[in-house]
């Protein structure tokens, strides 16, 4: 073999492997589950330091709207809530996020401090949502290693409480508890090739700075109120991680605000909320127990038993914004040119919020979405029987309309709503509704059409 042919072969091999790596990278991008990436895309793209980061479970995702905080107070925040996250998972998500930014305040929602497991016992795949978007790093390797050393989950598996019919480790699990799945997600996502959809080729990024908006109205169960002196007594794995997060933040000069966001909590959950007063006091941090604050109306502001809808989010975000502005030194960047892109992001978010109303075809959800301080609306009501039919009556009262509201004659409809954005003055949606009555003359449904 001549020197030239050896060289050409070496070059051919190098080029082949380079091409292979490029092709594999492209394939990985295509087949990866996009949820985590689209949720955190804005976080990674942000050049400026964040002022506030919100951590916790889906309770946080649904309850805190960072764009509203920008609009009302001008500070930069991001929602890092994770579906079904155990506190330990949140701890590591926070560690990863803090490698990119140092906020002034870290808000930690402390739902489920009773949990002994480090990852969701319902589904291991939820961890992907919190970790996938973060590139491989020493912290990520430590996170994965730690999250998989989970005595509680190991115990449950050993007792066959978490093994499904396919012998996969956890009931409802769709993948094995294997570190490779988190460190090299292609190892699990390559199987998505047959299920790729349009959103995989044109992923739509989250325009809510990590938050989610839940559109629904649900009347949760009434729960017995637990006296304040009844609290979670034992120290759990989750509490240990919570304490570690607080001390880590304090060491970095980050202030911590603990929250227990509102929902109709069970007795165990109320005891969790009570225990948090002690933890907050011990570490000298502030704590907002929304279970006691009466910020939301559970009859109009819930999406399900544990999550808030958009109306609830509006109230909680407003309260949190005012509290943060009053209790911490947070800058208002609204007039700072360096943050001009946030005005553009806000416009995108505003359009997204408008679309929720424009696409809504159920009156009860439409009324719920009207609970927004940025909107004004004109309501023409042709039939007062709407007040007597729940949940409409409560939802009307939620937006400041009660039985005294005058009725008018509406040709061809029983109700008309015109909605205007207070910032732009633009009327961006209008609907007419027709009531469906039963033989007894009671309202059973409302047909809504956009006009």
């Amino acid at each position: 073999m001549t020197g030239n042919s050896t060289l050409s072969r070496v070059i051919a091999v190098i080029l082949t492997f380079a091409l292979l790596l490029a092709a594999l990278f492209g394939l990985s991008e295509l087949v990866k589950r996009k949820a985590s990436y689209i949720q955190y895309a804005d976080f990674f793209d942000e050049k400026q330091n964040f002022d506030v980061l919100f951590f916790g479970t889906s309770h946080v995702l649904d309850a805190v709207q960072p764009m509203k905080l920008w609009k009302d107070h001008g500070f930069l925040s991001y929602n890092f809530g994770g579906h079904a996250n155990a506190i330990a998972t949140t701890y590591w998500a926070a560690q990863l996020a803090l490698e990119y930014t140092t906020p002034s305040v870290l808000v930690m929602d402390c739902f489920d401090i009773t949990e002994e497991a480090k990852t969701s016992r319902n589904s291991f795949s939820y961890v992907h949502l919190s970790l996938d978007a973060f590139p491989i790093s020493r912290t990520k390797i430590r996170a994965v290693k730690d999250l998989l050393q989970d005595e509680e989950i190991d115990r449950l598996i050993a007792e066959e409480k978490l093994i499904n019919e396919e012998n996969v480790a956890v009931i409802g699990q769709e993948e094995e508890r294997d570190p490779i799945t988190l460190l090299w997600p292609f190892s699990v996502y390559h199987n998505r090739w047959s299920a790729l959809g349009r959103s995989d080729f044109r992923p739509v990024r989250n325009v809510q700075k990590g938050a989610e908006t839940t559109v629904g109205v649900y009347k949760p169960l009434d729960r017995r109120q637990v006296p304040p002196d009844e609290k979670l007594e034992k120290d759990t794995v989750s509490i240990a991680y919570l304490e570690k997060l607080i001390t880590d933040c304090q060491a970095r000069g980050i202030e911590v605000l603990l929250t227990y966001l509102p929902f109709t909590a069970t007795e165990t959950e109320q005891r969790e909320a009570h225990r948090l007063y002690d933890i907050a006091e011990e570490y000298g941090v502030k704590y907002l127990n929304f279970l006691d604050l009466g910020v939301v109306d559970y009859e109009t502001d819930c999406y399900d038993d544990t999550h808030l809808n958009r109306s609830g989010a509006e109230k909680v975000t407003a309260y949190l914004g005012d509290y943060l502005a009053a209790n911490y030194t947070l800058p208002d960047h609204r007039n700072d040119l360096a943050y001009a892109s946030w005005h553009g992001d806000y416009e995108t978010w505003r359009t997204f919020q408008h679309a929720l109303l424009q696409e809504e075809d159920q009156l009860f959800r439409y009324l719920m979405l009207l609970a927004n301080k940025n909107y004004s609306f004109e309501l023409s009501l042709g039939d007062s029987r709407l007040f007597a039919a729940e949940p409409y009556g409560k939802l009307l009262r939620n937006i400041g309309i009660d039985e005294k509201y005058p009725t008018v004659t509406l040709p061809g409809a029983d109700l008309e709503i015109r909605v205007r954005d207070l910032d732009t003055g633009e009327e961006f949606d209008a609907v007419q509704g027709t009531f469906e009555l039963n033989t007894a003359g009671e309202l059973i449904d409302v047909k809504l059409r956009h006009v």
């Binding site: 292979l20 092709a23 579906h83 699990q173 998505r192 299920a195």
Partner: protein
Amino acid sequence: MLFNSLKFLIFFPLVVLGYFLIPDRWKHYWLLLASYYFYMSWNAGYALLILFSTGVTYICARLLEKEKTREAGGKRTKRIVLASLVLNLGLLVYFKYFNFLLTSVESIFALFHIRLQIPRFDILLPVGISFFIFQALGYTIDVYRGDIPAEHDFFRYALFVSFFPQLVAGPIERSGNLLKQLAVPHRFSYERTKEGLLLMLWGYFLKVVLADRIAIFVDMVYGNISAFNGWYCMLATVLFAVQIYCDFSGYSVIAVGAAKILGIQLMENFDAPHLSTSVAEFWRRWHISLTSWFRDYLYIPLGGSRKGKARKYLNVLIVFLVSGLWHGASFNYVIWGAINGLFQIIGEILMPLRRKAAALLHLHRESFVHRVISGIITFVLVDFCYIFFRTTTIREAIAVIRRILSPGNPAELITGLLAAQNPRATATECLFVFFCLLILLFADAMKSRGIAVRTKILAQDSWFQSLFFVAAVCGILLFGVWGPGYREASFIYFQF
């Protein structure tokens, strides 16, 4: 350490690198070390088993050589061969058949209403034991017959028994082919490496992309026969034939490719068997290394076809019964072997009749249509036998046959597909499997015409070869069934 494991993908390049970098005199020690490490990655204790078999056959061969130089006659040499057979087969029987034998004894006594309860041993079947013991025994017999001289270098012989590419699933190599190749050090060859890599990629395609994907459906149906109608059972049985072929031949091809990179040519184990036009031809093209082993070391010593028709048929039946038992310690395998043997015997008995019928009907036996029809009939017969291979009990096999004979509504296959959690993904996967089957059919059709597709690829320009390599690796990684499990449907839930 399976070929389709991350461990092997790290292990193999390191072995290759080491092999070509170390001095020639150390090369076979390096491969021996690698082979033992490979085998011990399942269980360190396995090293003792393979060492025992290696030691016994090595010593026996040396003794045979000594006896032959003394020209002392046949009795002692036969005793030596017998000792090797007894010790090796004893090992095999203990690990593979002991509990099966106890169950069989209990069943026989039960026929006479005598209830026996013999305590069982918790015996773990060592991986590949049937393969390396047959390879070592073949060597003893070869030396006994004088086909090859006894190997004096114990380490080289140990490498022959344990050579990692073919250690756990064949091909069962012949000493005449492999030992002499192990005796010489091999230099790195760029062209040979490319060919070896292509073979390995083809093997991975067969195993990881096709066999393991088909297995999902086959396991689903065979895992719960009563839940599926006859059409499902029929389709699963047909697909099982493809699955086992892709699984086994895929593993063999990876072995051949891996050995080729190291400069060693292993025998081909499969020659497009499902394109055979008779059961006898199928067995000449399926698991060739085992079939030829049985032919050379069992069928011919039994008398082969030299002692009349009746004895020939008996010999065929014996070979197939033993072959069935070799595949697994269960009566299902015995029946599988027996039916295959009977098909061969009946095929041969009916041969004159078939020829006459063809002549009367003016059928050209070599015509395409005749070959296709014969191929389909052969496939159906072979596939029927697989029912016994795939099921674990005879009762279960009969249940499958009953379902196939009263298949029910064929539309249920489609409605079942639509009822899947993600029908679009399921339909895509079905189409994909169909496309892969066409690729397999094409490659096998080429092979049966004596054309190896890889040589055609290697004849192309290097840029094409590079693109093909990249596409193949990406295709296998993307479409293969590997890594931690994943179910798309489960990921949909995110409203929490």
